[in-house]
């Protein structure tokens, strides 16, 4: 991203297992850095103020909102985006469950939901429907009414923790 600022910060960050060294303007949001500097456009931006959850990524394994963080705050840390979960050829079990249960429609909120669900299922491998609903209550989906998302998460938890 071209900038007029003089004080660039030498950022070093690992994203999806790849280490990046890049000078960034301190005000660059993490979401913009991932999307427009690294070309990892799977992370989406829906509200720019941390409410909708579409921009959620994993920072050292925990869900964070990349629109509420500056890229420099990720210095020296590890980030996983949706691109780091699975591939088209080999989907992550949670992605697979979303596919089977029709847990997405337009797919815009989906990356943020997946990156919310990954640590959730690690911490709570056998969640109840109520716990699932609570876990994704900070992610807005305008298409699905959440039912198939809830079903997908249940399916994933059943499969991953047989």
């Amino acid at each position: 991203m071209k900038t007029t600022a003089q004080n660039l910060f030498d950022l070093s960050v690992t994203v999806n297992g790849t280490r990046y060294e890049q000078a960034v303007e301190p005000r660059t949001l993490l979401s913009d850095f991932l999307r427009h500097e690294l070309g990892l456009t799977g992370t989406h931006v829906g509200c720019e103020h941390g409410v909708c959850g579409a921009c959620t990524v994993l920072l050292n394994g925990e869900s964070v909102r990349s629109c509420l963080m500056f890229a420099v705050q990720a210095h020296g840390r590890e980030i996983t985006t949706v691109e780091g979960l699975g591939t088209i050829e080999k989907l992550h079990p949670i992605q697979e469950a979303f596919h089977e249960a029709h847990g997405l429609q337009c797919g815009f909120c989906t990356p943020g939901i997946l990156t919310t669900v990954v640590p959730f299922l690690e911490q709570n491998p056998h969640p109840s429907e109520e716990e699932i609903r609570e876990a994704i209550s900070g992610n807005v989906c305008r298409c699905t009414g959440y039912q198939h998302i809830v079903d997908a998460i249940k399916l994933a938890s059943d499969r991953m923790n047989k």
Binding site: M1, K2, T3, T4, E25, T28, R35, H36, G39, L40, T41, G42, T43, H44, V45, G46, C47, E48, H49, V51, C52, A54, V82, E83, L85, G86, T87, I88, L91, Q95, F98, H99, E100, H102, L104, Q105, C106, G107, F108, C109, T110, P111, I132, R133, E134, I136, S137, G138, N139, V140, C141, R142, C143, T144, G145, Y146, Q147, H148, I149, V150
Partner: protein, 781 residues
């Protein structure tokens, strides 16, 4: 013939890309040398522009250009009229006032664009917007629909005599005569206010003018790529073939993305050509709240005339419709309201006069439901009130008046939004209502469960709301189906997709006829380079109109396949079958040829062909219905109200839906779930609050509440199928269905929960606060 694939729960072809971050949305487009746009927008809803100085912004480091209306010179002009007024109705009034690319002299709604900054990055563009010096002279904001029509009101468009944008009257039978016969006449005023569509993806445009090839490519979050291409070419003086519009993956549409042309859609390609640089503009959420179209604001004066035994003798509904600052979308929404206010009921006498009103608010164009939820809210509310006055059961009053199955096709004798006669083509309405009642366990709940819970002090309510949805309107859509040498099938159609699963449901239609795997069908939507005839995705018409065009093209391709295979396999066409990517002789399975091989034979590189031969296994077909197919459904719910906090918990929610032939129940259920969640928002959470100056007070997701996973109930869905005779697949649309009856149902169930308060809910959307106010007002009456 038994269908193998149509009607099956097949998982979606498009999912793997979406799930892995490999699907391209507009903001994902990156082009070397691309510049970024940001707008200066008005903070005032109504104001005269007194001075505008962009010189400091132009000097700001990293800024490439700044444009005002003045800078556009002769290229400044309002957007094209999108939908003309209905030609067939007598005495229609319609004043067309269209949105402008940049404000020239007067601001007409908060958020209207005044200047455009183009810079090396979005960050710099936004910085530079702050450098613009703007003086506005505020004028009184026109907000209230009734006051807007008073003689002393300030005018949104000063060249008009009043704020009346349009007026249209329609009638059926003789309402006044019916009223005289009536045993009961009930009259109410009902107010419905605005909500936002709030697609998760904001709007966005990337325009790339390649001067060397004299070609413009535009990525746009539109539901209507082909009209955008044609209009853009016309505005820029280019051939339509010099413009390619791509609507790639779109993060939800819900109506506002069918609006054409947004100011940004007029400006961004123009600037790209002007500067000869690729330009990207991505709307932010705040802009989305101000500059993306909204809907629902109406004030109704409704009157119903009934016999003492509950038969509807006539209905009169006069209403005001808020169109916002401009009216590019014509009369679509109020006509839809007018077409739905009789619901699925046999009403012989009807009279409706609507006035469309200009206000200093964001432009109004359809939002999922598009005037239909208002119509259904009116009829269902007034029936509830009438039932109460007659001492009649609310299920009974509905069943008594539903259109009987033998009455189809049923003529409502007015025109609908497509200017076609409003004819309900088919259905079996009572069966659907009974199904919803059975699913919710209506009898048992009302007779035993509810009295028991009420004794425990619980405020539990039940409701039932039937509805119609006119869908699948014309004019037409088309599709080109090609069997390629690989044996895979490519299908191009002109509509756009915003999550409805067309990549799969259309593939099922293809696979059904051509005997290939669903995953071997590549569907292209939303790219004018692939298909350039069509209108767009709106009015719940994708699956019906484009789906039937795909079906028709497949029928032609299948004929070509059979003709050629018959020659190659030396067997009569009638003995051939298509299965598993092969054409084979039914009784001699080893005698077969792969579709790919056949495609190659159909496109020879040498030799002579018979005169008139078309190359390849490819056909294009179009489908345009005579009039739209009308779906029907019934929703029922049980809710519990906390009398302290006024928070509502939905205990059960059921949907019985008849949208004709179901293509894919999995996708259909998803559409219904999503529609219901929007309807629940429209009922109890989502209201745009404007203050007395026309300022939107809740322009963020922190303040404008969307239903989240914890508010949404599990929605149980049952499908009943009365195939439409208006198209070969027998389908009817369902995209908006989920949202339509919810406010009517919600109001009924709330009143039922509060039965001892005798509350009448005559407005939407509500909220816990507003319900508290209504109850309090009733108590202190």
């Amino acid at each position: 013939m038994e269908k193998k694939l149509i009607g099956k729960r097949i998982v979606r072809n498009e999912d793997p890309r979406l799930l892995t971050g490999q699907a391209q949305f507009v903001d994902d487009v990156e082009i070397p040398g691309m510049l970024h746009a940001a707008f200066l927008r008005s903070d005032h809803a109504h104001a005269r522009l007194s001075s505008l100085d962009v010189s400091a912004a132009r000097r700001y480091p990293g800024v490439v250009a700044v444009f005002t209306a003045e800078d556009m010179g002769e290229d400044w002009s309002p957007g094209p009229p999108l939908v003309s007024p209905p030609p067939t109705v007598k005495d229609v009034v319609f004043h067309s006032r269209r949105q402008v690319p940049l404000v020239k002299d007067k601001v007409r709604h908060a958020g209207e664009a005044i200047a455009l900054v183009i810079a090396e990055s979005r960050y710099i563009a936004e910085d530079a917007v702050e450098e613009i010096e703007l003086e506005l002279e505020p004028l009184p904001a026109v907000l209230d629909l009734e006051k807007a029509l008073e003689a002393e009101s300030c005018l949104v468009h000063e060249d008009l005599e009043s704020n009346l944008a349009a007026r249209l009257f329609q009638k059926k039978g003789n309402y006044e005569a019916a009223r005289k016969e009536a045993g009961l006449v009930v009259r109410r005023r009902i107010v419905i206010e605005r909500g936002a569509a709030a697609a998760m993806e904001n709007r966005g445009i990337v325009a790339h003018w390649d001067a060397k090839s004299q070609h413009l490519t535009m990525w746009d979050t539109t539901q209507a790529p082909i009209p955008i291409r044609n209009g853009t070419a016309a505005r820029l003086g280019l051939s339509e073939h010099q413009v390619r519009v791509i609507a790639p993956f779109i993060g939800g549409g819900f109506g506002p993305k069918i609006m054409m042309f947004y100011p940004e859609e007029m400006l961004i390609p123009w600037v790209a050509m002007k500067l000869n640089r690729p330009i990207k503009w991505i709307e932010d959420r705040r802009e989305n709240f101000y500059a993306t179209t909204q809907e629902r604001g109406q004030v109704h004066d409704v009157e119903i005339a009934l016999s003492r035994d509950g038969q509807i003798l006539g209905l009169k509904d006069d209403f005001l419709h808020d169109t916002g600052a401009y009216d590019p979308y014509g009369l679509t929404i109020p006509l839809n309201t007018q077409s739905h206010v009789m619901g699925g009921y046999d009403i012989k006498n009807f009279s409706s006069d609507f006035k469309v009103v200009f206000t200093n608010k964001t432009i109004v164009t359809p939002v999922r439901g598009a005037g239909r939820p208002q119509g259904i809210f009116i009829i269902e509310r007034i029936l509830d009130i009438a039932a109460a006055e007659l001492g009649m059961d609310r299920v009974e009053i509905r069943k008594r008046n539903l259109i009987p199955p033998q009455a189809f096709p049923y003529q409502h004798e007015i025109i609908d939004q497509a200017f076609a006669p409003l004819i309900l083509d088919s259905g079996n309405y009572k069966v659907v209502v009974d199904k919803a009642l059975e699913m919710i366990g209506y009898e048992a709940f009302v007779k035993t469960e509810q009295p028991r819970l009420r004794k425990e002090g619980k405020y539990v309510g039940i409701g039932i709301a039937p509805f119609i949805e006119t869908t699948g309107v014309g004019p037409y859509e088309g599709a080109r189906v090609t069997i390629e040498a690989s044996g895979k099938v490519n299908v191009a159609t002109g509509i756009g997709t915003q999550g409805q699963g067309h990549f799969t449901s259309f593939a099922q239609i293809v696979a059904e006829q051509l005997g290939v795997k669903v995953s071997d069908v590549r569907i292209v939507t939303g790219d004018t380079a692939e298909f350039h005839w069509g209108t767009g995705t709106f009015a719940s018409r994708g699956a019906v109109v484009a789906g039937n065009a795909v079906h028709a093209a497949c029928t032609l391709v299948r004929k070509k396949v059979l003709k050629l295979a018959s020659k190659v396999l030396e067997a009569p066409e009638g003995e051939l079958e298509l299965d598993n990517g092969l054409v084979r002789v039914a009784d001699i399975p080893q005698k077969s040829i792969r579709l790919g091989e056949l495609a190659m034979l159909a496109n020879p590189l040498r030799g002579a062909v018979e005169p008139g031969t078309e190359p390849g296994l490819e056909s294009t077909a179009y489908f345009g219905p005579q009039y739209g197919a009308t779906a029907f459904g019934g929703h029922a719910m049980i809710l519990e109200l906390d009398p302290e906090t006024m928070m509502v918990t939905i205990k059960r929610y059921v949907v019985a839906e008849d949208c004709g032939t179901v293509l894919n129940p999995l996708i259909l259920e998803g559409q219904i779930h999503g529609g219901v969640s929007m309807g629940i928002g429209n009922s109890y959470y989502e209201k745009l609050h404007f203050d007395e100056n026309g300022q939107l007070l809740n322009a963020s997701f922190a303040d404008y509440l969307l239903a989240s996973s914890t508010e949404m109930p599990r929605v149980e869905v049952a499908h009943l199928e009365t195939p439409s005779s208006l198209n070969e697949l027998g389908s009817k649309g369902a995209g908006e269905a989920g949202a339509i009856p919810v406010p009517a149902l919600f109001a009924q169930a709330l009143e039922n929960a509060l039965h001892d308060r005798k509350l009448e809910i005559l407005e939407m959307p509500l909220s816990p606060n507003r319900l508290f106010e209504l109850i309090h007002a009733k108590e202190t009456q």
